[in-house]
Symmetry: C2
Subunit: 251 residues, 2 copies
């Protein structure tokens, strides 16, 4: 108990979380992990898997206000709550709104239309106004200054080591075959072996995924000091072909 | 002995070969594995390693006439010989010379200059002539129709299994650290384990290199039916930092 608030979860806890987020002011849906919500709000995509996401408390990969609230929930509990801009996508920063000469747009072959998202020096920005040979562009995050309304539920507090490791793997490897990965911790829990199925060998950026996964394992499993990734390739047996067509190499 | 010619080498033999190749007609150097020759002929590049290349007899990765000659040489023997176009880069094929309307070049924003190598429908071609609104382009290999003169030497006939495996690895992984790869054959020689050093994990196209290496091992080492690639990541020990700055996490 801190300040009278129950805090079931603390840094390093692995939670599976379902949530739906919308902009309070407009009701616009930003994101959801729930298939039914996606369909109801008209943002359903068949490309995406709707399932609870992994949240590691203290990791800071999600909006601060959402993470804070999750600490207070119990396993299985759902809450609807608002998060102010400061704990969501930040306050709007007026210094990030700039006037740029129209000719710069002409040079870059970009037509500035109010509302359009453009890229300037590698940064995304929204065109606000065009006039007087100048373009007003806004480098603030599109959700800056917005109060976000969340519906969130802690579906599960994951404590099993292997389940935690699989969740980390899945997050980095972005594969649908995570169950065909063979994961083994040594008896003294200092060493982890991950066997990657042959069909996943060509996953995009797999070598970077291995390193990112390893960094996270070293962070959240203090006993583990070595990770071995193993990829096995087996010879295609051509026994039948050989029997049917005996070798004629008798030079 | 076949037809009175001594044939020391046969299909599947691993040779280390030094060679220098030039166009007979012009004396132009095409390629050399020998640093001294590269310097003498003004084609030296500091980017490149000058060392004998792996030739596996029967593999067909090198010019046919060169491979045929290598079969006849003895270990340590050097020969200078000519290879006709048919056993080098092919005869010139007149049907591969085409007239293309100049406007096609204009459309693709390519200026056709005689002698220039251009890409047309993904194929390289040499511009031969421009005139009358048409461009004569030649899709023949630039060395087609040329007699190639080789100086070649079988530096070594490699028979040691581990040396052969390392040469295959090096060829595919294109790494300068091949000696830090740990290679182990099981006692019954059915299974091979290759440990890849952490610093090579991000080599370009490493996953494709693993598969290509495996294919070749399965071809040239019939007893091997399984290859395991192992990549180990170790936790960075921050012991010193910890001692200097004791943890203050006492919430």
């Amino acid at each position: 108990m801190i300040g009278g608030v129950n805090m079931p979860f603390s840094n390093g806890d692995f939670l599976l979380v379902h949530y739906t987020a919308k902009v309070k002011e407009t009701g616009e849906i930003i994101d959801t992990t729930i298939e039914e919500d996606a369909k109801n709000y008209g943002i359903y995509s068949s490309e995406r898997e709707y399932e609870p996401i992994l949240v590691i408390i203290g990791e800071g990969r999600i909006v601060k206000g959402l993470e804070e609230k999750l600490r207070e929930l119990n396993e299985g509990e759902e809450a609807v709550f608002e998060v102010p801009p400061e704990k969501a996508y930040g306050a709007r920063d007026p210094s990030k709104i700039k006037r740029i000469p129209l000719r710069e747009f002409a040079k870059a072959n970009i037509e500035p239309v109010p509302g359009k998202v453009v890229e300037i020096n590698g940064l995304p920005a929204v065109v606000r106004e065009v006039g007087g040979g100048r373009v007003l562009v806004d480098f603030n995050h599109p959700l800056a200054g917005k109060v976000i309304e969340y519906k969130a539920k802690v579906v599960k507090h994951v404590t099993d080591e292997y389940e935690k490791l699989k969740l980390l793997l899945k997050r980095r490897f972005k594969t649908k075959s995570i169950d065909s990965y063979d994961i083994k911790l040594s008896d003294d829990k200092t060493s982890l072996t991950v066997k990657i199925p042959e069909k996943d060998m060509l996953l995009q950026d797999i070598q970077l995924a291995k390193r990112a996964f390893a960094r996270e394992v070293f962070t959240y499993f203090p006993s583990i000091v070595k990770i071995s990734f193993v990829e096995e390739l087996e010879k295609q047996q051509k026994a039948e072909a050989k029997e049917e067509a005996p070798s004629s190499q008798t030079e």
